[in-house]
Amino acid sequence: MKKNRVNISGILFYILVIAVMLIILFPFIWQILTSIKSERELWSIPPIWIPKKINLDYYYSVFIKRPFLTYIKNSFIVASSTTVFSVLVASFASYALARLHFKGKNIILSLVLAVSMFPGIAIVSPLYIFMMNVHLLNTYIGLIIPYTTFTLPLAIWNLTTFFREIPFELEESARVDGATYMQTFMRIIFPLAAPGVFTTAILSFISAWNEFLFALVFNTKDMMRTVPVAIAMFPGEHELPWGDMAAASVVVTIPLIIIVLIFQRRIISGLTAGAIKG
């Protein structure tokens, strides 16, 4: 009798789990289906669920009629440069915070925290004026600079956590052998923390890849737009190009989903590092 009850609640539990999962995944599935529908199927009322055959017109339209490859290139250059700068600057800072002893460390840690809370909108106007005066509007550097600044806090939290876990004995013996702090950092700490560095890099890349506000304001020339801004600009005067928008959003989302699937353990450990141990 008792066993029976457990089974029923177990089944109900699974139904709940699957229902919630469907709510989470369905919008993506629907978007993929929409992107391969034909024009007629797309506008049909009531909506058609499964298209009769795979139609790649919208992908063609996005890549050939629109300069979508340029947008992807822009996003990729900006996001990967941000990642490199952010990881570099953050690992120097994290090495000092995790391994060295000096006064004022707590002030620096609160500075990191303050930056992570900082609303970007507060400095969009002054930075815009600055970028305009030094002719960095509609350039990659103009975006890489604010992105690097804003990804630094998360990168520093993560890397500090990872650097702390490396045994101190290794560093001590290198120091006894006369290595400088820079040498111990380059030869011991950085290589040993490679998985942590990698996680931090992925997280920085994702946040730069998806950023919208600065990209919208700073890079207004069509050929310098990043992917999120480009998609937001798809709607024309009258009708919304649903098919193009569906195809484009599938194209930008799939790479990130693949990254998450492959590196999920690392990403999740990186994300929680600041929250749990910080």
Binding site: F28, L152, I267
Partner: protein, 293 residues
């Protein structure tokens, strides 16, 4: 020994130098400049015509009905999104933490929306919730006449809230999950020996030990929610419509600065938001410090 310590201090700050410089030049510098702008009548198109106007921008903002509307929209959005997302995130984490099969898949599935660009998410939802879209079609089968969601004065803001919850609940779930896994199993075993049931274990072990994590999630989600922009911009095509129903503070500041070219006024509004965020963070920290002591 003393020499070695001095060396460590110097090296420490040398390592921190790139971070300190970038924050000083690209964050604190612009912030100070924004503070000066907020007391001026300033447009980047005609910077030579800038005028010092004292507190006028701030005083005008207090009587600006659109700004007040943006503030109240943002407050409604923040409270609704934060409360629901923190509770839902915890429930999902408890589910993912129980002994079910396919746990990893479950965890990854929830996490996917959080790495998806907010613009892509907005586009996906706009299509699902358009007047003759799939959601209204399904509702009509149950005899319900669905609203025009994003184009309705009443439903536009709740629709954005729902979208935000959908796309970020995974982040909070993942952080809760890490917190749950840090709770020693022995505590639960001991409680079970003492005859505590599942609810008692949750209220007297899980919840109290999860407090720092809940606090962390609370701070992060409030700060994020107060800065909502992307979704409101895409859904309303930048104008905060219909009838300012989706006008948020950041969208308002953006429009003032870059559509109406009134950067002084926009900077004053941005400073108000900045102060609200800082004040809330400090209050939360104070409450939290009291609790840990």
């Amino acid at each position: 020994m003393r020499k070695r310590y001095i060396l460590e201090v110097i090296d420490g700050y040398l390592f921190l130098l790139p971070f300190i410089i970038s924050v000083a030049v690209f964050l604190i510098g612009p912030l100070i400049y924004a503070f000066f702008l907020s007391f001026q009548n300033f447009s980047f198109l005609t910077p030579q015509k800038a005028q010092w106007v004292g507190l006028k921008n701030y005083l005008d903002l207090l009587h600006d009905p659109v700004f007040i509307k943006a503030l109240s929209n943002t407050a409604i959005y923040a409270v609704g999104v934060v409360v629901i997302e923190l509770i839902l995130g915890l429930i999902l984490a408890l589910i993912a933490n129980s002994n079910i099969r396919g746990k990893t898949f479950f965890r990854v599935a929830y996490y996917i929306p959080t790495v998806t660009s907010t613009v892509a998410v907005s586009v996906i939802f706009l299509y699902l919730f358009k007047a003759d879209g799939l959601v209204n079609n399904i509702l009509s089968r149950f005899g319900i006449q669905g609203p025009v969601w994003f184009n309705s004065v009443r439903f536009a803001l709740p629709s954005i809230m729902m979208m935000a919850i959908w796309s970020s609940v995974g982040t909070y779930m993942v952080i809760y999950l890490a917190g749950l896994q840090d709770i020693p199993v022995e505590l639960y075993e001991a409680a079970e020996v003492d005859g505590a049931n599942e609810y008692q274990r949750f209220w007297s072990i899980t919840l109290p030990l999860l407090r720092p994590v809940i606090f962390f999630n609370l701070v992060v989600s409030i700060i994020g929610a107060l800065q909502v922009f992307d979704q409101a911009y895409v859904v309303s095509r930048g104008n905060g419509g219909p009838l300012n129903a989706t006008m948020t503070v950041v969208l308002y500041i953006y429009n003032k600065a870059f559509s109406e070219f009134d950067m002084g006024y926009a900077s004053a509004a941005a400073f108000i938001l900045f102060i609200i965020i800082m004040a809330l963070t400090i209050i939360q920290r104070m409450i939290f410090k009291d609790e840990t002591n």
